[in-house]
């Protein structure tokens, strides 16, 4: 079943006269892990913003469910609220009762192993922990689609590995449709069912990653896939 569908999407930023996207079409299946990769400025984040409704396309058609949630590069946690408040506040804003918000907070903090950090403030957490709170917050409103905008690009490689494991576990447990934007090709191949390779505002190729899970970055098949992706980006 198709969850998200973009048809001939173009986006021009009028004030700066920049064409961010030209005729992008894309379909994402329900329960799929889809990743958009490409160099910075290729328009991948713009696609994510259009799916989320943060940005309107200049032309073309978008179909996406309303229950969309997002994980941001910076985490986007509010510094004046502790971990629990950051999550429950968002739940309440989406119409949950205090009790339900509390339940959701506990449930998803447990999922990212941060139950003991409930009353900590964002500044007291490491970058990886903040991002895990960001993921828990995004899931707590029970979205059908989870969008991730370069969620790990500000983190060190070891923390990134750790968060990949969390993300895959969450994807398996919740069966959400995930669309992620990344400039790290290895990350995209490691996590996704399919990747959309982007260049200069266009999707050059959509590649299915058939590697068996769990995937290992050192395996020959992995490296071969990486070469294929690079070829598309360079060629």
């Amino acid at each position: 079943m198709t969850e998200i569908s973009l048809k001939d999407i173009s986006k021009v930023f009028k004030t700066v006269k920049v064409t961010a996207l030209t005729d992008v079409s894309l379909e994402v299946e329900k329960g799929e892990f889809f990743c958009l990769v490409g160099p910075s400025g290729c328009g991948k984040s713009t696609i994510l913003r259009i799916i989320s409704g943060l940005e309107k396309p200049s032309s073309g058609e978008v179909q996406a469910p309303k229950e969309i949630s997002m994980v941001f590069q910076s985490g986007a946690l509010l510094p004046w609220m502790n971990v629990e408040e950051n999550i429950s506040f968002v739940c309440k804003a989406n119409g949950m009762s205090d009790l339900k918000a509390e339940e959701q907070t506990t449930k998803y903090l447990r999922m990212v192993d941060l139950e003991g950090f409930r009353y900590r403030y964002p500044r007291e957490l490491s970058g990886g922990q903040r991002q895990r709170v960001g993921i828990a917050r995004a899931l707590a409103i029970e979205p059908t689609v989870l969008l991730l905008d370069e969620p790990f690009s500000a983190l060190d490689p070891i923390t990134t590995d750790e968060l990949h494991t969390y993300l895959l576990k969450i994807w398996k447990e919740t069966q959400k449709t995930i669309v992620m934007v990344s400039h790290m090709l290895e990350e995209a191949i490691l996590l996704s069912n399919r990747i959309g390779i982007m260049k200069k505002g266009e999707i050059k190729q959509i590649m299915e990653i058939k590697l068996k899970r769990p995937r290992s970055q050192g395996s020959n098949e992995f490296l071969k896939t990486l070469e294929e992706v690079k070829k598309v980006l360079i060629g």
Partner: protein
């Protein structure tokens, strides 16, 4: 470990600033007193100071009156500056039109309207309101421009998150916008109060703007006390009110602004 270190660092700097604050207050007061006494000694020998003119009652009343005026004008300007700052930064278009207007308005010195304002309020026999109005105008701009600065530094991720998570209207204002600009409200308030104190001397000494005005018409306050005591050669009153003013400013700084500035650290984005 890192977390503990972070907190320790903040508390440490806070405590040292407390100590330093009091020490510098004492030093400043002694230096100013010394300088003033020397100057006044040359102007009129100290023996001529009439201690009887110095009444604690007057100074206390003057202080309370002044604080009341500053507080009322401050509260009014905070209440008004939030919607104005929000309106100006609402969209690119509103910023294009309103920001230059605000810029021109703020560059007109408040004291330029003062005579007109005074004449206007005197017509309604509302001197107190005239003082408050002038202080309010002086404070308003500092707050508005600080808040605009704050609103423009809210990270895009935060505003995007607010949109994605359906946080809007009053909820957004109360839980996201106001906390996000809280550090800027505090720095703006500091500037506003500084401006208020410095304008006080003119704002309370209204009689010079009134045709055939008498000093006796001035609303009692630290500002009018300073001006009129100096004018009448009541040196003791002059020095006493000046010292009271410095002490009050320092105490407000120490007990309110220092604490709020410390608190504001918690509201800053990394």
């Amino acid at each position: 470990m890192a977390i503990r270190h972070y907190h320790h660092h903040y508390h440490f700097s806070y405590l040292t600033s407390k100590k330093r604050h009091f020490t510098s207050l004492l030093i400043v007061i002694s230096i100013i007193t010394l300088i003033l006494l020397t100057i006044l000694h040359f102007l009129s020998p100290l023996t001529s100071i009439n201690i009887k003119q110095l009444s604690w009652e007057t100074i206390t009343f003057a202080t309370l009156n002044t604080l009341y005026r500053l507080l009322v004008s401050y509260v009014l300007s905070v209440i008004l500056s939030i919607p104005i700052a929000l309106l100006i930064t609402k969209s690119e278009r509103s910023e294009k039109f309103l920001l230059p207007i605000a810029d021109v308005l703020q560059s007109i010195p408040v004291l330029a309207f003062f005579p007109v304002v005074v004449v206007f309020f005197i017509k309604f026999n509302a001197l107190e309101t005239a003082v408050i109005f002038i202080l309010f105008l002086a404070m308003l701009w500092n707050l508005i421009f600080s808040m605009i600065g704050g609103l423009k530094t809210i990270p895009r991720d935060i505003t995007d998150a607010a949109t994605i998570f359906n946080i809007k209207g009053l909820r957004k204002l109360r839980y996201i916008t106001i906390p996000a600009i809280f550090p800027y409200i505090i720095t703006g308030s500091l500037l506003a109060w500084a401006q208020g104190w410095s304008l006080l001397i003119v704002a309370e000494a209204l009689h010079s703007y009134i045709p055939n005005g008498q000093a006796a018409n001035d609303p009692l306050g630290l500002g009018s006390l300073l001006v009129n005591s100096f004018y009448n050669g009541q040196n003791a009153v002059f020095i006493a009110s000046l010292i009271v003013m410095i002490v009050i400013i320092a105490l407000i700084n120490f007990f309110i602004w220092q604490k709020l500035l410390h608190l504001a650290e918690r509201f800053k984005f990394d």
